[in-house]
Amino acid sequence: MTGATEATAGASPAPEGRRKERLDRGLKVRTEGLYAVNSYREITYLVGPRLLLILGLAVLPLLLPNLYWQRVLCVAGAYALLAISFDFLANYVGLVCVGGAFMTGVGGFTAGIFTYYLHVPWPISILLGTVLGAALVTLIWLPSLPLRGIYFAILTFMFPFLARGVILALGILGGTEGLGPVAGMDNIWIENYLVIVVLLVAVFGLRRLVGEDAGIVLRGVKDNDMAVQASGISVTRTKAKGLFIGSLAGCFAGAYIVHLYNFMGTSLFATDYSILPIAAAVMGGSGTLAGPMLGALILTPLSELLRGFGQLRVVLYALVLVGFILFKPEGLLNWLTRKYHQFEKWTKV
């Protein structure tokens, strides 16, 4: 039998005398090779989940009842991008970035400056904000890249607060009150589909990237950086590349939010932008890239329903976070993937 695995951690303690056995579905085994293209059933099995995601996201804006929920979808998309960025950096580059708000802040302000001061059309300033913002984030975090694990996390945690302090102290870029109105996007459909297209590109692009040679090097840096160094590859340079790619997603989210709200201010460095993506990534399933996106698309509307209760939203994310880390560390998407590919049965021991 192929792929027989034992029930592992996370499952409830098994009763005496029997245990859970997991076996790969026959269909999964048949679709592993090239001959999967022989039958529609097998092609559907392979393409189905991906097609479901793409089509689901494509029709989602049409199904939403009113403008309010369409705006929520826009915000959820931005959070989803941040969550993907966190997941990519944490699980494929080994940089645990607890300060996603720094990316939204830098990306948002960069794009906002182009639109507000220089009157650049919004598509160009979002693009510039994304690329220049990511370059700026990489440059500012360059001195901290030799750090690992907790050290890097601690530093990234401090940056949004410090950046906010610097802006408030120097009174630049609008200071306390912020700047507005920043010219926005033309209508809600463009806003919706822009973020959906970027999301899909980010998910599928990053999934492709981590499978390529470059992705293997990135994961090498995460798992064993000494080995990478011994192979004659610069660890810091690789990390910088990874950080640049990861912050592209984060900075796009920031630039997008500025043009969505038509406003830029120090609220771009708010803790929400750091903590919700992490909660989404943990809830959706770390290391899957698509999972964090699903997590964000679930958590953001949920927190929107709780808007009336003020800070209860943040408490909610934090509770979701603690609950998932302690009791379901694998996350939703990993669990779903297992159910999709395998079946479970009880066997006598």
Partner: protein
């Protein structure tokens, strides 16, 4: 002269803020991101005991320190112990606990709770008078901060060198596996370290809060200050933490005397980046340099 004395006070404020965090990290290698939250919680509990329950100020301080210490121990036993050894989860979970406490204190309208917002929440000073030292007028509370800071430093020094538990702490800090072979219970020590570290946060809160207001935002500020001190001083190093506190204390005091008080964050930022470029492991960070940092 002003700079000298107020710098000293500010330095000890940093020492107090960072002491608990350094201790916990040094002993159990756990970055306790709930440090700032425990600090704020102390202020809130003392305020509640004094103003709502009508208890004596010192009695309520005593009760609060015990409660916060227990909370720290529970935090390890029921939350952090389950994710120990996974740095990412440790950070995320402790930060999430911090958010639950901090933002929970700001909740409004549930059960008639008015939320912990605004400037009406202050703790009274212990001794309400000013003292003049070498021509510098200073209030007694600030002197008390120096006293408490010094007492904590001396207490920790004696504790970790003369007491059995303190020696076990040092053993854990130096080499956890060797300490476990010698019969030191790693989890028990971590529970104790979190209890002591949390009570240090509580003592710091009680000493520092009378100077300002009790708000949830101070939690982030304290956490950032503790992290900055530990990064610059080298994580888990007492000497480094004290030295870094003095650097920060005098730097910020100097800035505010030069009429640039609002640039404090900029200075903090600059110092951290500078230290990272010159010495990535911090001023005194030697332990496990190779493994922790490339």
């Amino acid at each position: 002269m002003d700079i000298l004395i107020y710098g000293l006070v500010n330095s000890f404020i940093y020492v107090l803020m960072a002491a608990g965090f350094t201790l916990v990290y040094g002993v159990s290698r756990l970055p306790n991101f709930a440090h700032g939250a425990l600090y704020v919680l102390t202020g809130f509990l003392v305020w509640t005991f004094v103003n709502s329950a009508g208890l004596n100020y010192f009695v309520s301080i005593l009760i609060t320190v015990v409660i916060v210490a227990l909370l720290g121990a529970f935090l390890y036993r029921f939350v952090l112990m389950r994710v120990r050894g996974m740095p990412v989860s440790e950070i995320i979970v402790s930060f999430a606990v911090a958010l639950i406490i901090l933002e929970g204190l700001r909740l409004q309208g549930i059960g008639g709770f008015k939320g912990f917002i605004g400037s009406s929440y202050t703790l009274p000073t212990f001794i309400d008078r000013t003292v003049s030292i070498a021509g510098v007028v200073i209030d007694a509370q600030r002197l008390l901060i120096v006293g408490i800071g010094l007492a904590i430093v001396i207490f920790m020094w004696i504790f970790t060198r003369r007491q059995k538990i303190g020696l076990a702490f040092r053993g854990m800090a130096q080499d956890e596996h060797a300490a476990m072979m010698l019969g030191i219970d790693s989890d028990l020590m971590a529970v104790l370290a979190l209890a002591v570290g949390s009570s240090l946060a509580a003592i710091a809160a009680v000493a520092i809060y009378p100077l300002g207001q009790v708000t949830a935002e101070t939690g982030y500020h304290v956490l950032n200050a503790a992290l900055a001190v530990c990064i610059v001083g080298g994580l888990g190093s007492w000497m480094g933490a004290i030295l870094a506190s003095f650097i920060f204390g005098y730097a910020t005091t100097f800035a505010s005397f030069m009429g640039a008080a609002k640039y404090q964050d900029v200075i903090l930022f600059g110092l951290i980046v500078l230290v990272l470029i010159i010495r990535p492991s911090g001023l005194f960070g030697r332990q496990k340099e190779l493994e922790e940092r490339v």
